[in-house]
Amino acid sequence: MQLSRGARIALRLAAAVGFAVIYVPLLLVLVNSLNPDRSASWPPPGLTGHWWAVAWHNSGARGALWTSVRAGLGATAIALVLGTLIAFAVARHRFFGRGTVSFVVVLPIALPGIVTGIALNSAFSTVLEPLGVGLGLFTVVVGHATFCIVVVFNNVVARLRRTSGSYEEAAMDLGAHTFRAFADVTFPLVRSALFAGGLLAFALSFDEIVVTTFTAGPGVETLPIWIFDNMTRPQQAPVVNVVAAVLVLLSVVPIYLAQRLSADTASGSRV
């Protein structure tokens, strides 16, 4: 389509405005972490690194970060195992209800978090509490793993569909048994898909707030919960600003890692 000069300029302008709207809020968070003032009024009266030092020593934020990392690692580990198992079943076998399985995997992320949250919450309190197990970090990990399975599944199943089973068959013809063929042939083929899926699962868990609200026991505070609880307290505003800025800066890490992966996994379907 031959666009007129005017149309091209208009599109360029629209795109420039669009990207500005996408990035200005993120830049604002970065600048605001240097704001000496407790209020968010613009422009800031000056710049200071003081609150970064304060935030570094804030035990609440540190503890919450550590809780988030542990929850993320636990949920990612479970999601990697379960997601991979389903991916192999769906990609390498034909069975009744195969379509339903792929649908059920997507459900936890397709339904609103609050529905998943209260469903798990009432299940935990009716099943676990009589056993003497209360809500805690463990229940957060279970809740997060439930909706993280889908991203591992999606990545691994896409890889398995593109690599035919004949590699494994060749390995078996050459005398490798099932486990040997998996370790030497299949696993290296799906390794980068597992890495991409694990990265997405961790990011999803690290960012999650709604399901966490309903599955965390008293005293279990992940970083999003900490930010949410402290967001409206003027006294804590400067520390929240710094934590938010750190999270914006950290979001470059998965982008960098995803780009390092081969092109087909880098497109990283988040869902």
Binding site: N32, I86, F95, V101, V104, H177
Partner: protein, 305 residues
């Protein structure tokens, strides 16, 4: 039975040595694909079907229970009062309609903003820059949800960036309320719309556009008759995300929505005192999302997800 069972086949790979335990297990699994399949599916299905679907089922059954109005304890007596209340209580009706309207508004806004942006990244920008632009669209997806909402809280707060930018025109920012919630939700889910539209526009064959021009269509006509119909399924695919993510949200509304209530907030406020009512309210977004998915499936959007 006179027919003899077929002799178990010797494992050709076993060799002359007696096979080890691992090898015997591997052989047994190899010969029984059904067993292999059940072992693969046992753990994940136990997790998803029993733990997750089980909890969901119990929750939605409890929508038909009642509570003791003194103790707030759930009473397991079958009643359709809660579900009926969704349609008859004016507050619930109003909030449900408002939530669906917000989700639709966010979807339309996302589509309108995404289109020129994706058109630029997919067809106007130099090919050398395109992968970088896609990364630029993807990056905000990795930034924390809560931090992005917080950023808009900063922008829209009194004396914030929005007020500062609008002051020269004698205006002030929208403050916290329904428009702020729609704006923030649009910002949050915009990348989910840009990406599929970008992909569709990028894959549009240039020959079709040339043919349309050769046949005498002006760019506007080509856009309406060629580009739009081919890109619409991708808009529908993106709208699945923008619509369902907006409909279930309650955190954004709590942070920037002022006193605005959406369906998620109603669910949240009922959990402590009336869990069956919360469950009934929770049914609404689930049913609406399923209906939306079914409608979108007719456009062929879901196969391009």
């Amino acid at each position: 039975m006179t027919a003899t069972a077929p002799a178990p086949q010797a494992d050709p790979a076993a060799g002359p040595r007696p096979p080890g335990a691992v090898r015997r297990l591997a052989g047994a699994l190899h010969r029984r694909p059904r067993l292999r399949l059940s072992l693969l599916l046992a753990a994940p299905l136990l997790w998803l079907a029993v733990l997750y679907l089980g909890s969901l089922a119990v929750l939605f059954v409890s929508a038909f229970w009642t509570t003791n109005s003194f103790t707030s304890q759930v009473v397991k007596v079958w009643s359709t009062d809660n579900v009926r209340a969704l349609f008859t209580t004016p507050v619930y009706r109003e909030v449900i309609v408002r939530s669906v309207a917000v989700a639709l508004a966010v979807t339309v806004l996302c589509a309108v903003i995404a289109f020129p942006l994706a058109f630029f990244t997919a067809r106007v920008a130099r090919p050398r820059w395109r992968p970088l632009l896609v990364v630029a669209i993807l990056t905000p997806l990795w930034a924390s949800y809560l931090v992005k909402v917080y950023a808009w809280r900063l922008i829209l707060s009194e004396g914030g960036l929005a007020d500062w930018m609008l002051r020269p025109f004698g205006l002030s920012g929208p403050g916290f309320g329904l428009p702020a919630a729609v704006l923030t939700l649009t910002y949050l889910w915009l990348p989910y719309m840009i990406l599929p539209v970008h992909t569709a526009l990028e894959q549009l064959p240039a020959g079709l556009l040339d043919a349309s021009a050769d046949l005498g269509a002006r760019p506007g006509r080509t856009f309406r008759s060629v580009v739009l119909p081919l890109v619409l399924p991708s808009v529908a695919a993106g709208s699945v995300f923008t619509f369902s993510l907006s409909l279930g949200d309650y955190i954004t509304v709590q942070i920037v929505g002022g006193k605005t209530q959406l369906i998620g907030n109603l669910v949240y406020s009922n959990i402590e005192l009336n869990l069956p009512m919360a469950a009934a309210l929770g049914l609404v977004p689930v049913v609406v999302i399923v209906l939306y998915l079914l409608a979108m499936r007719r456009t062929g959007a879901l196969s391009s997800l």
